[in-house]
C-alpha cells in the first residue's frame, strides 16, 4: 500500500505506515503531487459502487448500496394515513437516517451520532426539493386517505461520503418500491388486501389496482468532493475527510439541474473555477450512478 517515499527528510528513513500515522497531511500531499491517492485511485475517480435491490423482504421497497466500504441499507414501509387539511390530495414521506454504533468508532453506544440528524435533514430536503416523487401520487382517496412512506436508512459502515451513499440507497429503494394493494371496506375504511389469493372473496375493488409503482421523475444523484489547495478529490474516504476538512457536496438530477450545492464551511474557499470543476465531476458521476441503477433495476425485472 502506498508509494515509496523517495525524498529527503524523515520520510526516507521511516516506514510508510509510520509516516502515514505521524504526518497524515504530508503523506497525502506527497501522493496528491503525483495525482494519485493512497488507495490507487486518480483524484477524480469515485470508489466502486454496487447496489442490491430488494434486500429486506418485509419492507415494501429496499436497497443495499455500497460505495467502497461505505454501506447503507434503505427500506421503505408504506402506511395509510389521513392527509392534512392543507393538502388533502397529497401523501407524505418521512425520512430518517440512523447511525448505529457498529458503523464507526466515532459513534458510541447510548449517544446519538451528531452527523445523523444533519444527514437526515439534508436527505429530506434533497428528495423533496428534487421533485423526484409527486406527492399527489401517494394519494388514495382525496381528503380521506393517503400513503405515508417511512424511509429509514441505516448506515452499516461509515467510511466517508455518507450523504452520497445514503441518497443513492434512498433513490434505489424508491425505484424498488411496490405499493401494497388496498381496498375500501364497508365502513369506508382502507384495508390492505393480503396477496394470498383471497381476492375472489372481496366484493370491493382494490382502490389502487394500477398504481403499484411510483413514477420517478428526474432522479437526484450526488458526489462529495474534498477541496485541498488546488486539488479536488472525489468521493473521499473517512480518513481523507478527517485530514482534509473542506467538503463540497453537489447534487444534480438526471437532467443536469442543480438540486443542491452544499459546502458547510471549511478552510479552503471555493472559487468559481472550483465550483465548475465540482459540477463537472458530478455530471460524470451522475451518468455512472444512473447506469448502475438501471442495471440493478433491469436485473430485478429478469428475476
Amino acid at each position: 500500500m502506498g508509494l515509496p517515499n523517495v525524498s529527503g527528510d524523515l520520510s526516507a528513513e521511516m516506514e510508510v505506515d509510520a509516516f502515514r500515522r505521524l504526518f497524515p497531511l504530508r503523506f497525502y500531499e506527497r501522493h496528491l503531487a503525483d495525482s494519485i491517492r493512497p488507495d490507487a485511485r486518480p483524484l477524480g475517480r469515485a470508489r466502486d459502487t454496487t447496489m442490491a435491490l430488494g434486500a429486506v423482504a418485509s419492507a415494501d421497497g429496499s436497497a443495499l448500496t455500497k460505495i467502497g466500504s461505505t454501506t447503507m441499507l434503505a427500506a421503505i414501509k408504506m402506511e395509510v394515513m389521513t392527509p392534512s387539511t392543507d393538502s388533502p390530495d397529497e401523501g407524505c414521506i418521512a425520512i430518517d437516517f440512523h447511525m448505529p454504533p457498529i458503523c464507526s468508532p466515532i459513534v458510541r453506544p447510548g449517544r446519538p451520532a451528531e452527523a445523523a440528524p444533519v444527514v437526515s435533514k439534508q436527505l429530506s430536503d434533497t428528495i423533496l426539493s428534487s421533485g423526484m416523487i409527486d406527492l399527489k401520487e401517494l394519494s388514495l382517496v382525496s381528503g380521506k386517505a393517503a400513503w405515508m412512506a417511512y424511509l429509514d436508512i441505516y448506515c452499516l459502515d461509515a467510511d466517508g461520503a455518507l450523504f452520497d451513499c445514503a441518497l443513492l440507497s434512498a433513490v434505489a429503494a424508491f425505484s424498488n418500491l411496490q405499493i401494497p394493494v388496498v381496498s375500501l371496506n364497508d365502513d369506508g375504511k382502507i384495508v390492505v388486501v393480503s396477496e394470498e389469493g383471497e381476492e375472489g372473496k372481496l366484493e370491493k375493488e382494490p382502490v389502487n389496482k394500477e398504481k403499484r409503482k411510483l413514477t420517478l421523475r428526474s432522479l437526484p444523484f450526488s458526489l462529495t468532493c474534498i477541496l485541498h489547495k488546488n486539488y479536488i478529490l472525489a468521493d473521499p474516504t473517512a480518513e481523507e475527510e478527517s485530514i482534509m476538512e473542506t467538503l463540497v457536496t453537489v447534487v444534480l438530477d438526471s437532467s443536469s439541474r442543480l438540486v443542491s450545492f452544499y459546502k458547510p464551511g471549511g478552510p479552503v474557499l471555493a472559487y468559481t473555477s472550483a465550483v465548475q470543476d465540482c459540477v463537472a465531476l458530478t455530471r460524470q458521476r451522475v451518468k455512472e450512478l444512473q447506469k448502475i441503477l438501471d442495471e440493478a433495476v433491469s436485473g430485478m425485472e429478469i428475476d
Binding site: I106, P264, L269
Partner: protein, 242 residues
C-alpha cells in the same frame, strides 16, 4: 428585471440592517444583528479549558448552541448548528488557543426569512466582541430565485416560501490591506469572492446558481462595509466602559 416585491424593495435591495455589540453583561462577547424583522442575538463564552470528545485537542474547538424562538430544537436547528460551527471554525485561527472550547449561543428573537445568514452575521460580530482570534470576518447573504430566473436578495419569510429556490452564501469580508492590490488575488479572483459556505434549496440550473453567486458577491461587499463600520464605531465606547 421587473419583479414586484411586497415591501416595495428593488431586487438587489437589502432590508435595513442593525447591529449592536456588547449588549449582554455576563457573556464574554455578544451582539445582536437584525435584517428587517429578522433578529438574532449571539453570545460568546470562552475560550474555556479543554475540548469535547471527538474533537482535535491540538486545535481550538467551537461549539454552537442554537436556541429557537419557541419550542425544542429539531433537525433543522441541528443542521444550522453544524453549518454555523464549520463556518466559524473556518474563519477563526484555531491554532492560538489550543485545547480550548468557545461556546457560541444563538438566540432567535424573530424569524422573518434569511434566518441562517442573520445568525452567521450575528455570531461573527459576537466573536469579534469577545476578542476571539480570527483570520477575517464572514458575511452571509441569502439569494432567492424567482420562477422567471430572477435573483432577489435578502428575502422575507413570505418571499422564501413563494420562490422556487434559494441559496445561503457566506463570503469572506473584503480585506482592506496595505499590500498592493494584485497580491490579494487567488486564481485571478479576489479573495472575498471565494465561498466559505453554500447551502441551497430547490431546483435551479447551474447557470442560475452562478448568477446567484455573482449577485451575492456584489451584495456581500455592502454588508461587509456595514459590518466593518459597526465594529469600528463601537470601539471608543468599549474602552470607555472598561
Amino acid at each position: 428585471m421587473e419583479i414586484d416585491r411586497d415591501d416595495g424593495r428593488t431586487p438587489n435591495q437589502l432590508r435595513p440592517l442593525a447591529c449592536s455589540r456588547n449588549i449582554l453583561h455576563r457573556a464574554h462577547g455578544s451582539a445582536s444583528w437584525s435584517q428587517g424583522d429578522t433578529k438574532v442575538l449571539a453570545a460568546v463564552y470562552g475560550p474555556k479549558a479543554g475540548t469535547k470528545k471527538n474533537e482535535n485537542p491540538e486545535k481550538a474547538c467551537i461549539e454552537v448552541i442554537w436556541k429557537p424562538k419557541t419550542g425544542q430544537i429539531g433537525k433543522l436547528e441541528k443542521e444550522y448548528e453544524m453549518i454555523l460551527k464549520r463556518t466559524l471554525q473556518s474563519i477563526s485561527i484555531l491554532t492560538i488557543n489550543r485545547n480550548t472550547t468557545t461556546s457560541v449561543i444563538i438566540q432567535v428573537v424573530h424569524d422573518d426569512g434569511s434566518l441562517l445568514t442573520c445568525a452567521i452575521n450575528a455570531a461573527c460580530a459576537a466573536l469579534v466582541d469577545a476578542g476571539i482570534p480570527m483570520k477575517h470576518l464572514a458575511v452571509a447573504i441569502c439569494c432567492c430565485l424567482t420562477e422567471g430566473g430572477y435573483v432577489i436578495l435578502d428575502p422575507t419569510k413570505l418571499e422564501e416560501q413563494k420562490m422556487k429556490g434559494f441559496a445561503y452564501l457566506v463570503f469572506p469580508n473584503s480585506i482592506h490591506s496595505v499590500l498592493p492590490e494584485g497580491s490579494l488575488l487567488v486564481e485571478g479572483e479576489a479573495v472575498e469572492h471565494g465561498i466559505i459556505t453554500s447551502v441551497t434549496h430547490g431546483l435551479m440550473s447551474v447557470e442560475e446558481y452562478l448568477n446567484c453567486l455573482e449577485r451575492g458577491r456584489a451584495a456581500s461587499a455592502k454588508l461587509s462595509d456595514f459590518l466593518r463600520k459597526s465594529i469600528k464605531l463601537q470601539l471608543p465606547t468599549d474602552s470607555f466602559k472598561s
